[in-house]
């Protein structure tokens, strides 16, 4: 499936449909989104704990608290 088809299918899961020209506009942004996914992934720090296995160093903070953290 091409990028437009993938996007259309993902949006259909949310019951959102876009026109062909709207999907065209989304393609470069979607390409960049997939690239950024890898950029963020490559930033994440973790400890190696066994062959091919890691233990993550950071924890996702869904409601952010700036005063927490900082101590290492």
């Amino acid at each position: 499936m091409d990028k437009k088809g993938i996007m259309a299918a993902k949006l259909a899961e949310w019951n959102v449909s876009l026109t062909d020209s709207e999907l065209d506009q989304l393609v470069p942004a979607y390409d960049n989104l997939l690239r950024w996914q890898e950029v963020v992934h490559s930033m994440l720090r973790s400890r190696k704990i066994a062959d091919g296995m890691i233990f993550p160093e950071s924890e996702p903070l869904l409601m952010y608290s700036p005063e927490k953290g900082g101590s290492k």
Binding site: Y30, W36, Q37, V40, P60, P66
Partner: protein
């Protein structure tokens, strides 16, 4: 308009409030001055969507009566200000056609607090649609024009707050900031924008864009004024789940102190290889000026612009999509075309991607907290790396999520640190340039101290657009 009226319109809140306190100037006089300037100039700027003419006159009469009775409250008493049109207070359009006729039943917390402090609400100021959808000449609400060059955008999303404050059509404006919507328009219009620490100012009743990134705060013409307005609106609010239950300091307590020996940490890796030289020149002069004032300039290693964007925009638009899903399904075709597309874009962010973004945020925050505990007292970088755009006729598409969109403000949205934008000159086309100073969570007094020391050693805050 007489020279005296012009000077009064461009005076700072700190100056005007002293006159109000001494009864040399009345709140009614200030209000009529602002209303007359809005009448005269706002057709050019389009900085207000709604002017509360009758209500603000009534409030001015009440303030005057209170002050005459000796019941002066504080420096905001009797001072006319504008409120971004995503804050619930009277007609609240969010810059979007479907909300053209929405009138809020109650004032949101921040507006209530400002009114309790005695501020006079002139009206509701223009915003990018729901604080993210760039306006074009074809948008339902139309764009706000930059007072320094009417062909350019005023920046956003707090466009109206920035343009009206810069033009003497208000003494301050309240804005909101999810990726830079206070600091970026403040730079574009040559004024001060203060985004306090996440949780410092209530967002209850302010239309959300991204819950974990949204902040509210003031745009003003001076650093002192930013501290004064923040003083009036800061504080714990149980109606905002992210509100921080921490003491509120005197934000002006360090203003006027020197900055000798204070360590200013430059976040060079974010901007050095991508900032337009037109903006980098004035910024580098500002760094030299801080050094001249006695600050010690140090380097703080951090992320790149690409990493900054990779953390900010997917997370922001995933939350935006969660907020706007029903609206887009029901009224999506009434949004600006790209505003609808951005909400759709957020639906393409996977759950795993969103959580990785949150992990990366935590890492960057921890690293910068460590730097602020060891090598630097404050952090510094330009506000944006490109000149503010011309106003577009057609939808700009998804320009925010392009790699060329080099605004540097989001780093302090996703870390939550307090940050202030200060003007530092003009580019070769006569458009304002600024920089940011950020600091430790809840240490707004120190960033205001540094920003104030710089401001008072330069002339930029004394220059105003010629409308």
């Amino acid at each position: 308009m007489t020279v005296a009226a012009q000077e009064l319109a461009y005076a700072s809140i700190a100056e005007v409030s002293e006159k109000v306190k001494r009864r040399e100037v009345s709140p009614i006089e200030l209000t009529e001055l602002m209303l007359s300037r809005i009448e005269e100039f706002d057709a050019k700027l389009h900085s207000y969507y709604t002017v509360f003419t009758n209500e603000v006159r009534a409030a001015a009469r009440q303030a005057e009566a209170e002050i005459q009775r000796g019941q002066y409250r504080n420096p905001l008493h009797g001072i006319p200000i504008g409120i971004k049109d995503i804050y619930e207070s009277g007609r609240t359009t969010c810059g979007s056609k479907p909300l053209d006729n929405y009138v809020a039943a109650n004032d949101c917390t921040a507006v209530k607090k400002l009114k309790e402090a005695g501020a006079l609400v002139l009206g509701k100021t223009a915003t990018y649609e729901f604080a993210y959808g760039f306006p074009t000449t074809k948008s339902y609400f139309g764009p706000t024009r930059n007072p320094w060059n009417l062909g350019h955008d005023a920046g956003g999303s707090s466009s109206g707050a920035a343009a009206s404050t810069a033009s003497g059509l208000a003494y301050a404006g309240m804005g909101s900031c999810t990726g830079g919507s206070i600091r970026w328009p403040a730079q574009a219009c040559g004024i001060v924008g203060l985004k306090a620490t996440y949780g410092r100012v209530s967002r209850a009743g302010v239309y959300p864009l991204s819950w974990s990134l949204d902040h509210t705060g003031p745009l003003t013409r001076t650093v002192t004024d930013a501290a004064l307005v923040l003083q009036a609106c800061a504080g714990y609010d149980p109606n905002d789940p992210a509100s921080a239950n921490v003491p509120v300091p005197n934000f002006a307590e360090k203003l006027g102190r020197d900055i000798k020996g204070l360590r200013v940490g430059l976040l060079r890796s974010v901007y050095e290889d991508n900032c337009d030289v037109k903006l980098l020149g004035p910024y580098n002069e500002a760094v030299k000026q801080l050094a001249k004032l006695g600050a010690k300039i140090v380097d703080v290693p951090t992320i790149t612009l690409d990493q900054l964007q990779a953390i900010e925009w997917p997370g922001l638009f995933a939350e935006c999509a969660a907020i706007h899903l029903d609206n887009v399904r029901n009224r999506g075709n009434d949004y600006n075309p790209h505003a609808k597309l951005f909400a759709a874009y957020g639906l393409l962010v996977s759950g795993a991607h969103y959580l990785m973004v949150q992990r990366a945020r935590a890492q960057v925050r921890d690293d910068l907290l460590q730097a602020l505990a060891t090598t630097a007292d404050v952090l510094m970088l330009p506000t944006a790396g490109f000149q503010i755009n011309h106003i577009a006729d057609e939808s700009p598409g998804l320009s925010i999520v392009a790699t060329s969109f080099s605004v540097y403000t989001p780093i302090f949205n996703f870390t939550g640190f307090p940050a202030i934008q200060v003007p530092c000159g003009f580019d070769s086309d006569g458009l304002p340039v600024g920089f940011q100073i950020a600091g430790k969570p809840f240490d707004e007094p120190t960033i205001c101290q540094v920003a104030h020391a710089y401001e008072q050693s330069t002339v930029w805050h004394t220059q105003h657009p010629n409308l």
